[in-house]
């Protein structure tokens, strides 16, 4: 029973981080119809930058207990490279999606060396900093408080994002643009601005996700390419462009991975790809997606 709960909590933690990246992917796909292979690179960038920011802050005399706000701020700050990347994508909006996909693939290649240049080839980590927050225990079950905080932060971001997309004027315009770009243009919506902000928001979600995960796992150079496939699995299972789908997909992938790792590690990623294929075969548009063609 305890082993089972451990797996569930581990899975939910992984899902919380995956959700952030996948939500960024969904947002960008929903509005701009671009699948961003570089989302994993943003995630890794957030992780590396988070390590540096926290190390610097601790060196400057910050009490270790404040490292979580520093991480969040670091994730938000480095996410502001979004508009610059979007300026590159601008050149291929009207082109075939093969070119859009390839452009983001070029970004994946470039980012890997950018990370190598600034942080070197060795994994970067924050040591045992997670333990400054202690552990929560319920009977025999022990969970690091930090993991619970990250899960809570992710839920808060999910709720905030939902409210933002549904209730605010900007969110409504954004959804309208996703639905029908030409009509938005005709009604005087500044689509350029919408695209730039959506892409930046997507980037920030990725970098914050990376920054939040780094105290529990080292930042390494293979992070981007391995995360991309997991994030893809999440959005395909949930349905491309759907936020609820990202949430459910992240839970499925997170829990399955945690279960596979602890019970039958050969199946780790294999099980996830199998779910992706089964979902695509039975429900081509994903669990919450809109059918296409």
């Amino acid at each position: 029973m305890i082993a089972f709960l451990d797996v569930v909590i581990g899975g939910v933690f992984h899902a919380a981080v995956l959700f952030l990246v996948a939500a960024g992917l969904q947002l960008v796909f929903g509005v701009q119809k671009i699948v961003n292979l570089a989302c994993g690179s943003f995630y890794a960038l957030g992780a590396y930058f988070g390590v540096s920011a926290v190390t610097w802050a601790l060196g400057a005399g910050l009490p270790p207990a404040l490292f979580l706000p520093v991480l969040l701020a670091a994730g938000l700050a480095i996410g502001l490279i979004g508009p610059f990347i979007e300026a590159l994508l601008l050149t291929v909006y009207h082109r075939d999606e093969a070119f859009q996909l390839l452009l983001t693939f070029a970004l994946v290649l470039m980012f890997e060396d950018v990370l190598r240049y600034f942080w070197g080839a060795d994994p970067q980590q924050l040591g045992n900093l997670v333990m400054t927050y202690g552990t929560l225990s319920a009977g025999p079950l022990k969970v690091p408080t930090y993991n619970v905080l990250v899960i809570a932060a992710s839920i808060a971001i999910a709720a905030g994002l939902g409210a933002f997309l549904r209730r605010t004027r900007f969110g409504r315009i954004l959804r309208a643009t996703a639905e029908n770009r030409e009509m938005s243009l005709a009604l005087g919506v500044n689509v350029r601005w919408i695209y730039a902000s959506v892409f930046t928001l997507g980037t920030v979600l990725g970098t914050v996700g990376g920054a939040l995960v780094v105290p529990t796992a080292a930042a390494s150079l293979d992070m981007p390419v391995s995360l991309v496939v997991e994030a893809f699995a999440v959005v395909v299972i949930g349905g491309l462009g759907s936020m609820r789908g990202a949430l459910l997909g992240a839970l499925i992938v997170g829990l399955m991975r945690a279960a596979a790792i602890s019970w039958y590690s050969e199946l780790e990623m294999l099980s996830i790809y199998l779910v992706v294929i089964v979902v695509l075969v039975l429900r081509p548009a994903g669990l919450f997606g809109k059918p296409v063609e």
Binding site: V35, V92, R95, L101, L103, F105, A106, V108, M110, L280
Partner: protein, 316 residues
Amino acid sequence: MRAGLVVAAVAVLLALPHVLGPYYMTLVLPAIAYGIALLGYNLLFGYGGLLSFGHALFVAIGAYCAAVLSTRLGIRSFEAMLLAAGAAAVAVSIPVGLLSVRYVKIFFGILTLAFGMLFHSFLFKFYNITGGDTGIHVSRPSLFGRDFADLGQIAFLVGPFYYYCVGLLVALGFAMWRIVHSPFGLHLVATRENRRKSEYLGVRVRLFRLIAFAISALYCSVGGVILAVNTGQADPELAYWTHSGDLVFMTVLGGFASFFGPIIGAFTFVLLKAQLTGMTDYWRFWLGVILLAIVILFPRGIAGLGRDLWARVRKA
């Protein structure tokens, strides 16, 4: 004009071992391997309009077939390796293709990526069968029953094996030329341009796409066998999705709208990568910059650029 260029290119390929040192020859071999793989890949991508991000799967199948045959079963015949690889690739491509060709565009891309990664994690995790992350050794094959025991490894690769591979490239290139100019090839282009219209005209879109998928898998597996013999190793990285990305990179670099573009792309990519890795630790960055430039500035690739230049020369 075109026939002349092809004859000249083949003549250059045949003369290369006499001109280049062994180092460059070991680069030309993978370029030929990728050239063959991309001839097939471009049937699907360039002519069929389906962007697969998982064709490294079939390259890996080819490589592992060669490895299993030579190391596990002790079969040394290169022809047997090619046959086994082709058969395995086509056998895998039919179920994978049946599921994938129901989709187009990004869904097709993601589904093929998922199949590729499925195979990668199988190779990676099932150590007992596949050798895990180190993969399986590939020993030197025999060609037409001759094993060239008097030649060293390098002499074998740049000698008889090289000519054999050039022969394969020419033969498979000719076959592909016939395929894309056959009614089948023209139908395939029609389904790319307008799926609905071609359906009205009685084209069986999914069947044709499935056939193109199987042919592309066959070509990729042949490329994989050559790659594995050249490096003497089959490892899981061959199936990783970034390797599929490299295949797309090469195709677009050379120009997917042209028949010979992918072959040009394969040679350019392999030589470029070798140069860059020799010059700097940050070769991925520069490859990315080049891909960015191609995508933004020259979407028709080197072949398109050449065609434009030629048109300008003729006008002047």
